[in-house]
């Protein structure tokens, strides 16, 4: 299955400035592994040292959050788009 992975602006620096990368995969995990095979520096940004998707990384298959489906086992089909979106959060240590 040929799927298109779309990277956010910041992560393109780790993928030869590419915004869209086409890989062959049957599920989200395979798609990400295929992505890392092409651009290994992305791995450290997206996966924790134990190989799990970092909690502040969101992955969507088309419009659907992969976490609401089967996570990395979420199936993908020909023509699907896998969107990687960083969770952007933060805040001060002290409250009011």
């Amino acid at each position: 299955m040929s799927v298109e992975i779309r990277l956010p602006t910041a992560l393109r620096a780790f993928a030869d400035k590419q915004e869209k990368i086409v890989v062959e995969a049957t599920n989200v995990g395979e798609a990400l592994n295929a992505l890392f095979a092409k651009h290994d520096r992305l791995k450290a940004q997206l996966l924790s040292p134990d190989g799990k998707l970092r909690s502040f990384v969101n992955v969507y298959v088309n419009e659907d959050d992969a976490r609401d489906k089967q996570g990395l086992a979420t199936p993908v089909k020909d023509g699907d788009t896998v969107l990687i979106v960083p969770a952007i959060a933060g805040g001060s240590t002290r409250g009011r």
């Binding site: 979106v85 952007i88 959060a89 933060g90 805040g91 240590t93 002290r94 409250g95």
Partner: protein, 148 residues
């Protein structure tokens, strides 16, 4: 290392943060995608500041902010192929220093600018911009260069 913005954009950032007080305000910094995005010495040019709602749970908005990933995805899609992109984010620290907190560091992405505005009593008290190092261990301050 510097963040180049014009005064009108700075005003949008400051007003957003002051209006959000005592909660944290936040938004996107958009500009031309640099050729050498990964090099921390590059100047970051911002040509648009886009305020977004603080999506954090209402119980902790005074010291937390969250940008809805679906909104961010929409903006990335809008900017796709234009040569512009999300080059950073701004947020406020109500009654707290404009230095990144440990939580800011934990959540930060490399190659992006994080502009933090200190707001005391509803008025700006300090404003600083930072970039996370690629190894994720620290932030480095970058000069905010005001043009126009």
């Amino acid at each position: 290392m510097s963040l180049k913005v014009n005064r009108a954009l700075e005003q949008i950032v400051v007003e957003t943060c002051e209006k959000a007080y005592p909660d944290e305000g936040c938004g996107l910094l958009i500009g031309p995608t640099p050729d050498d995005f990964i090099a921390m010495k590059r100047p970051v040019v911002v040509d648009e500041a886009r305020p977004l709602p603080n999506g954090w749970d209402s119980s902790a908005k005074t010291n937390r902010y969250l940008i809805d990933p679906r909104l961010l995805a929409k903006v990335e899609e809008e900017l796709s192929g234009t040569g512009r992109g999300v080059v950073g984010f701004f947020h406020s620290h109500p009654n707290a220093p404009a230095w990144p907190s440990p939580f800011d560091l934990m959540m930060a992405w490399p190659c992006l600018s994080y502009w933090i505005v200190r707001v005391d009593g509803g008025k700006i008290a300090d404003s600083r911009s930072w970039q996370r190092t690629e190894d994720g261990r620290s932030f480095v301050e970058e000069e905010i260069y005001l043009e126009g």
